[in-house]
Subunit: 393 residues, 2 copies
């Protein structure tokens, strides 16, 4: 907790949050503090060409695969103290406790701080873990620019984190401890979420064309009112989501009529649809139902798929290690999927991955009011420690 609060002083906002956009002076200071702490625990520091920072504690057998623990130190513009930071500092805690308890280990233990997880300054998000996993090329990542036109490469250079080191992708297991960023654990009174993967996501833009008509002079039976069609479609969509509860999620975030006039029947209406499900088969089922709705059941509807991020399952060995730890420690837990993306999604492409969630108050995150209790943090750390210990030899 003292490390967490010390770190939160860097970029601290007046409302108790953190302003620590990636590759800024605040981020540089946070990286420096992390390095200092890691060196105190006997780690060496490596930085790769996208600025990912690795604190490496060598094991007794140099070619043994590493145990990776990591997350990110960057924040949203008005972010909280816990998102990302917890997962990096947790690595220091695990290391410290292993040393305190005199646990020897053949495997190197590596604590990672991934660059630009948030995507708040540079797009895309998770660029550091994405490059590490080969999802983005280094050139592409370096060329991305912020709103002022500063590129990732320039920003890396400016704060002295355009490295030339790195680590081998010889990884036995990778763990990320993170706040849930949702209300489920709190609502169900569980201290640990054993994350089995990240749910699949599909985004759509749906446009319905009608005919503009005067609200006063066009009789209703002569209208082609797109709001009626939307009304029927939305009812169908919620009913479909109901069938796949409690795991399906369906969100209509934006609706726009054209023209926006009180006394004109809209000529068109456009709305967004966000559907998610941990089971790719069910997501596909929902997708097909939406497709059918837009192309056959209703008229004058245009469906535009915007994004599809398939379900990412985490590694059974890592999931089991986490679950076993919770069982052993008698901490109430729940197996669940992550609703949001994390560095672990990309890392899972090159290493066995597991994630541990702990509750956050009211599910609030990306917000200065973000809060996780010391008790829950301790539970998360204990589970992480046991999971790591079960993996090392």
């Amino acid at each position: 907790m003292s490390r967490l609060f010390k770190m939160a002083e860097i970029g601290a906002t007046s409302n108790g949050g953190v302003y620590r956009l990636t590759l800024t002076d605040e981020d540089k200071a946070a990286r420096g503090l992390f390095s200092d702490w890691a060196r105190e625990l006997g780690c060496s520091i490596e930085v790769d060409q996208i600025g990912n920072q690795f604190a490496i504690k060598q094991g007794s057998y140099s070619s043994a695969p590493a145990i990776l623990i990591g997350s990110h130190l960057d924040s949203q513009p008005t972010g909280g103290k816990y998102d990302g930071t917890l997962g990096v500092l947790a690595g220091l805690e695990v290391l410290s406790r292993l040393m305190d308890e005199g646990v020897s280990h053949k495997n190197p233990i590596i604590i990672a701080n991934w660059t630009n997880e948030e995507g708040a300054r540079f797009s895309p998000a998770m660029i550091g873990s994405g490059v590490f996993a080969g999802e983005f090329s280094l050139t592409y990542a370096h060329e991305q620019a912020d709103s002022e036109g500063v590129s990732v490469k320039e920003a890396l250079n400016k704060i002295g984190y355009l490295g030339n080191g790195g680590i081998e992708k010889n990884i036995k297991a990778s763990f990320e401890l993170h706040i849930e960023q949702g209300p489920v654990l709190e609502a169900e009174n569980k201290q640990i979420g054993v994350v089995t993967g990240v749910q699949g996501i599909r985004w759509y833009k749906i446009s319905i064309t009608g005919r503009e008509d005067h609200a006063g002079t066009a009789p209703m039976h002569l209208r082609s009112d797109p709001i009626r069609t939307m009304n029927a479609m939305i009812s169908d969509f919620y009913a479909m989501a109901e069938v796949h509860q409690p795991e399906a999620k369906l969100t209509i975030g934006t609706i726009k009529t054209e023209p926006q006039s009180i006394n004109t029947v809209p000529g068109s209406v456009t709305f967004s649809l966000d559907i998610r499900h941990p089971d790719e088969t069910v997501l596909e089922l929902m997708h097909n139902e939406i497709l059918n709705s837009c192309t056959h059941k209703y008229q004058d509807v245009k469906l535009e798929p915007l994004w599809h991020s398939p379900h990412v399952p985490f590694h059974k060995g890592c999931i089991d290690a986490i679950e076993n730890a919770a069982v052993k420690l008698e901490i109430p837990y729940k197996k669940m999927v992550s609703g949001a993306g994390h560095d672990s999604v990309y890392i899972s492409k090159v290493a066995p991955v597991g994630m541990i969630f702990i509750p956050c108050k009211d599910g609030i995150s990306h917000n200065e009011a973000e809060y996780a209790s010391p008790e829950d943090i301790e539970a998360g750390l204990s589970v992480l420690y046991e999971a790591v210990k079960s993996m090392i030899k």
Copy 2:
């Protein structure tokens, strides 16, 4: 038709429409042309303090109540040739035919061109007829300014139409010939609409408060999603409108979610509701159902009434005169209410009023594509002529 096309040259747009905002140089030119034509038919011209223009053809008995025929010569920024203009020029046609047929009349016949019917340059609309009827004070009307800060009084002065004349409110009947601005007559293949009044209108803004949640991490059963409430309300509202068909009209013209983010459950949604009915009792019934829906049936809903314009019935004597004319001429007609407002609404407060509608193509109006056929215009003029003739002695 030649007068109509000549008039349409003033402010003609490249797409066949008219730009003739009130009290502009174009409006001045249109007023001048109207005066010239009226004088040729033996009229004297009076202009009152709000710029209403009256062409007066005296009858044989000086104190007999007048027969008023009128509408407006101003247009929307990209308006059509027929809206308003037809009703003014129709007065000239009636006068001309009375003279051609040697019909003598005790009652003076007055052709009115009301200032700023459209409300496109100055708000409120129908300001000229409104002042004439005592609905707005002259001071209030003079103070209204356009988007450049020019007041009605300044604009009147600039084009030389701040008059000091006018007419007495000694009116036996007032007639307005107008395009329907809706699709009903065309759809039902009728040439004449015998307008019995203007329907009542109520406008509302309805806001539903929910809770912002992450589309990926908040399970659906823990959400407070305002879109669900809105969708249920909209279903109810359409069902309610169905009960009162074919006369009820219900329009949802604008919908806005906050924040407008694809992957955030909206914290709130606001939509507009426009309801209309020719029978004030039914409008009240619908109003009460909406009120109940917003205050009892659904939660976290705020209903904000924006406007209520009660049903205005026209004068039985005038309605009968128009209907009898259509019967006599064997022109297919339909008794109907006007969905839009007209100068006749205000005039009805100080005189017996009747309106005649003719079809316009596809119900299109306030648009350069506005069109009424010469045959329908002739039918409208004949009915107007017969109605006026039936009133004069």
